[in-house]
């Protein structure tokens, strides 16, 4: 498993807004091996989606990549650009993405067939011209793989004619059709109801395993992360605060934020709502100079205020960005 396919190192991404730059990503590090399934967990607004969009090369125009490296299969995806606009990204081949909201991720005024065939045509057809029939066959094949009944009919449907779960399956089919080494699933089940969530997650896991892909799953839910992945990255305010093999993280969380996150999960056993973490994520216009969790941290040390902790190894592939574990 030592074959690294994705290596994000020291990624700094900001958003230009009125009044300055939102310094969202602050030195993100993320390493994935071939065939590995990872989860990126964190609260809303901590930069999970920004990280994934950086890898995909689909950041919105206001975004600026200031520093960092993204290597996919040994190829650097970032090239130096102008100082104001930041670095440019090269869109990687072999990475596909499932978005959070299947309503927004499909164009409402085109049929599933039109959208899927364009995706297939342009992702595969650059080297050879594909016939209409072979595009259609490929589309039906990925729809079948995504466990959609009656794919011929679905091709002629508009997104609004499908249920939420079916739409997300169509999105998964679209991601599959670009046939990659890495599937990024950005909160694929957040907008679905619970029974459908489970089906969609199983589908994603089975497909990833069958196709031998790697999976980067972005989620709020530690439960989903535990069920689906081998390794978990805990993200807080644009930094990676803890990386651990899935079971190791649940056995012994180190970072104060991770502990708080685990304490926040409501239990089905009815023990009441957990304590949660007081406070909120920092203002990205003026983030804390040191550890970004410092203002909310109950175990903060004096040096946390001005110094950024690195990821310290605490054994068993478990690493924590906290001065408590130096």
């Amino acid at each position: 498993m030592a074959n690294t396919i994705l290596n994000v190192d020291g990624l700094h991404v900001g958003y230009r807004v009125y009044g300055g730059t939102l310094k969202v990503l602050d030195g993100i590090r993320l390493v994935m091996d071939a065939g590995e399934k990872i989860a990126v967990v964190g609260e809303t607004g901590c930069g999970k989606t920004t990280t994934m969009k950086s890898i995909m090369g689909i950041l919105p125009r206001q975004a600026v990549i200031r520093k960092g490296q993204i290597n996919f299969k040994g190829r650097n995806l970032l090239t130096p650009g102008t100082e104001a606009r930041g670095m440019r990204t090269i869109r990687p081949k072999g990475v596909s993405m499932v978005f959070q909201d299947p309503i927004a991720a499909l164009n409402p005024v085109f049929t599933v067939g039109q959208q899927l065939s364009d995706v297939i045509k342009y992702s595969r057809g650059q080297t050879k011209q594909l016939s209409k029939q072979s595009v259609r066959d490929a589309a039906i094949e990925v729809l079948k793989l995504s466990a959609l009944p009656d794919p011929e009919r679905i091709l002629t449907n508009y997104p609004f004619q499908l249920s939420g779960g079916m739409r997300q399956r169509v999105c998964i089919a679209m991601a599959l059709s670009t046939a990659g080494d890495l599937l990024i699933a950005d909160e694929p089940t957040t907008n679905l109801d619970v029974t459908i969530q489970d089906q969609v997650l199983r589908l994603i896991r089975n497909l990833v395993e069958e196709q031998g892909m790697s999976l980067a799953l972005v989620t709020h839910s530690l439960g989903v992360a535990r069920q689906m992945t081998d390794r978990i990255y805990i993200m807080y305010a644009g930094t990676m605060v803890e990386v651990a093999p899935t079971e190791g993280l649940f056995d012994k969380p180190f970072h104060p934020y991770t502990k708080g996150l685990l304490g926040s999960v409501p239990k089905l056993t009815g023990e009441g709502i957990g304590l949660g973490i007081p406070g909120r994520i920092p203002d990205y216009l003026k983030p804390p100079a040191g550890c970004r969790f410092y203002p909310r941290c109950e175990e903060a040390l004096p040096e946390c205020k001005d110094n950024k902790p690195e990821l310290y190894d605490v054994g068993g592939g478990h690493r924590v960005a906290c001065f408590l574990y130096r």
């Binding site: 689909i58 869109r91 081949k93 164009n107 085109f110 959208q115 364009d118 992702s123």
Partner: protein, 342 residues
């Protein structure tokens, strides 16, 4: 359940007939309730009272209003809109002369608005926050803020006076033979009868008034197109297609443009219908023999039959354009068609 196009069309046509009947009652009533005696105005202050009385009788003005309307409606259904008190001709003949001229003007202005508005909007969105975007923004503010008759005068000064490359007034230059009447639209008649010189000359005459008339609409639809393009460019579906390697050109001209046209089309339709009314001053300035000028003259002279006819024609245009727009929107947006929104 999905309704068929023809049943939608039928429903809309029935609705339109009701609308037109409503419009006719309204304008018939209003035009007769406004103070001022049409018969007296037509004949002048020095005419003896018995002559005015005769004309009143002749126009049925001595009968109660509902009876007048009924009589007018019966004639109208036979295709007779009565006589104009100003031109002393049948309103049908006047319309036959003036309507095609204005129709031609508005068609050219509408083409300018559709092409100009969409192109400017798309490029302003594609190159947003660049000099081109700034340029279209200024152009749009100027276009919206400046009335069409001001544009008319400015264009006349520049292109007919300071740098005379386009004709200033009328429909045809002196010495050009008018093509035989087929539709009454000279450009079309010229092409149909092979008289291309006349068609070209008429088109040159149309350029300045049409651009003056279209400026407002171009500005407005460019802004709306730009705004909805930018909104649609930020959708996840666009990122999803981009991530899958669909080229930017295809995304912009297909996946972003189509949903962006939905609001634009509705606004454009209203603009284009409004042109018929706004054309009045432009037709005056360019001395263009059109329906707007005819209608306005009729109103100033309380020429009842002409007023009602012109307003009805405008109402008809409005209704027809709206039906067309609803069908275009249904073509662009499958949700509208599906839920029978048309």
């Amino acid at each position: 359940m999905r309704k068929t196009w023809s049943s939608m069309l039928l429903r809309r046509l029935l609705q339109s007939i009701l609308v037109l009947i409503g419009v006719s009652i309204l304008i018939f009533g209003i035009s007769r309730m406004v103070p001022g005696d049409p018969a007296r105005m037509a004949l002048g202050p020095r005419t003896p009272e018995w002559a005015v009385e005769n004309l009143r009788k002749q126009l049925n003005l001595d009968k109660p209003l509902p009876v007048q309307y009924g009589l007018w409606l019966l004639k109208m259904l036979r295709g007779d809109l009565g006589e104009s008190l100003v031109t002393r001709r049948l309103v049908n003949d006047d319309l036959r002369d003036f309507l095609p001229a204005t129709a031609e003007l508005i068609v050219v202005a509408a083409i300018i608005e559709i092409i100009g508005g969409i192109l400017l909007g798309v490029f302003a969105a594609r190159y947003s926050q660049t000099w081109f975007d700034g340029f279209t923004r200024v152009l749009a503010y100027l276009g919206v803020a400046t009335p069409s008759f001001v544009w008319a005068i400015i264009f006349l000064l520049i292109f007919s006076f300071a740098w005379p490359i386009l004709p200033a007034t009328g429909r045809l230059s002196a010495g050009i033979i008018t093509p035989p009447r087929i539709t009454g639209m000279i450009v079309l008649d010229g092409i149909l009868s092979g008289n291309f010189a006349a068609a070209w000359d008429c088109l040159l005459h149309l350029i300045l008034p049409a651009i003056s008339l279209a400026m407002y609409g171009v500005a407005q639809s460019a802004r709306i197109t730009r705004a909805s393009m930018i909104e649609n460019m930020e959708r996840d579906s666009v990122y999803a297609h981009a991530a899958a390697g669909v080229p930017r050109r295809v995304i912009m001209t297909k996946y972003v443009l189509k949903p962006s046209l939905i609001p634009t089309v509705s606004v454009m339709a209203l603009d284009i219908v409004a042109m018929a009314g706004n054309a009045f001053l432009v037709e005056m300035i360019f001395n263009y023999p059109g329906l707007s000028r005819y209608g306005m003259t009729a109103m100033l002279n309380k020429d009842l039959n002409a007023i009602v006819a012109v307003i009805l024609i405008l109402g008809l245009c409005f209704v027809v354009v709206n039906i067309i727009v609803d069908f275009i929107v249904a073509l662009l947006d499958p949700r509208v068609a599906h839920y029978g929104g048309v």
